[in-house]
Amino acid sequence: MMENNMAQATMGAKLDALPNKPGGGPAASGGIKLSSRDVRVFYGDNEALHGVSMDVMANEVVAFIGPSGCGKSTFLRCFNRMNDTVAGARVTGQITLDGRDIHDHAIDVVQLRAQVGMVFQKPNPFPKPIYENVAYGPRLHGLTSSKSELDQIVESSLRRAGLWEEVKDRLDAPGTGLSGGQQQRLCIARAIAVSPDVILMDEPCSALDPIATAKIEELIHELKENYTIIIVTHNMQQAARVSDRTAFFHLGDLIELGTTSQIFTTPKQQRTEDYVTGRYG
């Protein structure tokens, strides 16, 4: 509870007075993209997340690290209201995207998810052709008026996901027939096809080999130009490699948030230090 208060104190928990400088200081330029205030998540009567407040700046990569069950994935899924789909889950507190409350009645969850894309832990392409996988989102939201426009979106999405060269000759082949790393890049292409502002990545490399992982990390570097990325990872080297800032979670609390180099070299909290040096977790 103490740490929780401290974390909040560092970041300024007041809803009406959004701080200009969130904890750790912004590492990237641009305004505040996402901000959470006292976000709590309950599964039934069990509180899984104990009031987390933090800001994410535009075009930065934030990594969430922490031992299993610390609530980092739960927190991530708050940003596109994926927890709505979990029976018995309840989210309190405030989350804003570009200053607008995402729980506002005026915002349809479909609209939100088009703006906040997600890549999941296990690659989950649809059992459909590669083309259809990428085209699904744009088609769903009516983003294109012609086939050629759709073709263009599919191609550029696959290009940006670094998959185009590998699949351009077999767009009709099922997406499920690709290798694990390719599948995950296909899922990223699918997510960016609807031009989101933010991409949430829930341990995107946990099911991949080191080469595929390296490709995804490279991709994250490139995507940073255009997107704000929040990535949950168990791999601390990965967090260190790809992220601008890192947040350490433990037992449902945000323990520490700072620039990645600060978290890994001079953590302020004892528990952060213990975790990043591998003493537990």
């Binding site: 789909t85 609209q111 998810r113 997600m118 999941f120 989950n124 699904y136 939201h141 499920t176 997510a191």
Partner: protein, 451 residues
């Protein structure tokens, strides 16, 4: 020293493992062979089942049939020409003249025509018209009349016709009755029996493939021409009703319960009750149908509409449970993927979950329909075990169903004849099931998605 004991310890453990290994292998072998034995026993029983049904049922498709020239003697068929509508005549007046003509035709003694035709083959039958007519099933008299109605020009002509022999003649000639039984226990008089043998020897009565069983409705006066067309149509109508009702209702209910329904006391209660309903004896649904559909809604009794509704009620729990299982089997990651790119819940379900669950839903449907098709109990209670001597043209007409027809035939007093008829009906019913399954397998193969 220490090392030595340690080694011997290892050896002892290895011996123990070896001993237990032998035990495990014996058990595995036992398990293996008992599995094979179970399969062999099951296959043998199925083989016996099909063997006996085919053995008794297939011969019933071939019936003792008179193949002979029939002369439509104008002296016997004394009726005027078939009335045609006259110019200036009102439809009612024409109808009246036509009815009169049909009435006249009804008085024509077609038995005499058949008698004369048989006498040509068997001169000694001339003195015994009644015994002669016992050879031919009575339905053929009406078949001759229908021929005249269809084409009055046939009067005065001689046509080579196939007439079904009487059921008892068929039984006698096929040896389905003990020929050594005393006369008092025989169904036919000694004279008729002798004639039947004689006519068979001379080739007038032949064992011919008969379409009567497929084309005719049930009959109690002319047993040899009794068919299952009425029951078949009844079953077909009910099958269509069950598919049309149980499919959308069952799938929609399953989707709601599985995907949308909140988890609370009420939905728990509904769930428990659906599972319980699947285990309710089917005859209870018949009682429900009798009260609700016939007494409250005043739907026609014995109709395949009511039968279809009752079978739908009976099938629904099965369809719902199996459909929910199919929906549950779709990995949640697919749902998340769809929701993640901004599909609404309904879109995620219709675009991704349902197509993936389709093979399972189809299987659910087939199980339900097959179960409904073979059901007898509930139909007895809504009057579908009644004797219906016409082919239903709509689901509102009185009808019966294939399994009920089998039940009726197998309990007919002329067992010697209807045992074969019943088995033949079973073959038709099984054929219908196999066709249904074949369609299901074909559909499943078409829709199956490789992961």
């Amino acid at each position: 020293m220490n090392q030595h004991t340690e080694l011997s310890g290892h050896a002892a453990i290895r011996r123990q493992v070896e001993a237990s290994l032998r035990r495990r292998q014996v058990r595995e072998k036992l398990f293996h062979w008992s599995g094979i034995a179970a399969v062999v026993i099951a296959l043998t029983l199925v083989g016996i089942f099909f063997g006996t049904i085919l053995k008794t049922g297939l011969p019933a498709f071939w019936q003792s049939t008179f193949v002979m020239d029939v002369h439509f003697d104008p002296e016997v068929v004394q009726i005027g020409p078939k009335p045609e509508p006259m110019p200036g005549e009102s439809p009612a007046a024409y109808q009246q003249r036509f009815n009169q003509w049909q009435l006249d035709l009804g008085f024509v003694d077609f038995g005499q025509i058949i008698h004369k035709s048989i006498v040509k083959q068997l001169p000694e039958a001339a003195e015994h018209p009644d015994e002669t007519l016992a050879l031919v099933t009575s339905g053929e008299l009406f078949a001759l009349r229908d021929r005249v109605v269809a084409d009055p020009g046939i009067i005065g002509q001689t046509v080579r016709l196939k007439l079904l022999a009487d059921a008892n003649v068929d039984v006698w000639l096929k040896g389905n009755i003990d020929r050594d039984l005393p006369d008092t226990q025989q169904q036919l008089s000694p004279l008729v029996r002798a004639w039947a043998d004689q006519l068979q020897a001379s080739g007038v009565i032949q064992n011919k493939f008969s379409t009567a069983i497929f084309m005719n409705p049930d009959s109690r006066s002319s047993l040899a021409s009794a068919g299952l067309a009425g029951a078949f149509m009844g079953s077909l109508f009910m099958m269509i009703i069950v598919i049309l009702l149980a499919m959308p209702i069952g799938v929609a209910a399953a989707i709601y319960l599985e995907e949308f329904a909140p988890k609370n006391r009420l939905t728990d209660l509904i769930e428990v009750n659906i599972n319980n309903l699947a285990a309710v004896p089917s005859i209870v649904f018949g009682l429900l149908g009798a009260v609700v559909f016939i007494m409250w809604f005043n739907l026609p009794m014995s109709s395949s509409l009511v039968g279809g509704l009752v079978l739908t009620l009976m099938t629904l729990p099965t369809v719902i449970i199996a459909t929910r299982a199919a929906l549950k089997a779709v990995p949640p990651s697919i749902r998340e993927a769809a929701l993640g790119v901004g599909a609404s819940k309904m879109q995620a379900i219709t675009h991704h979950v349902l197509p993936l669950a389709r093979p399972g839903i189809l299987t659910a449907m087939i199980i339900g329909v097959a179960q409904a098709l073979g059901e007898t109990g509930p139909l007895l209670l809504i009057g579908m075990s009644a004797f219906v001597a016409s082919i239903p043209a709509t689901p509102f007409d009185q009808s019966t169903a294939l399994p009920v027809q089998i039940y009726l035939w197998e309990s007919n007093e002329l067992r010697n004849f209807f045992e074969g008829r019943g088995s033949a009906a079973i073959i038709v019913l099984l054929g219908m099931m196999l066709a249904l399954n074949a369609v299901a397998i074909w559909l499943r193969k078409r829709f199956e998605t490789r992961w």
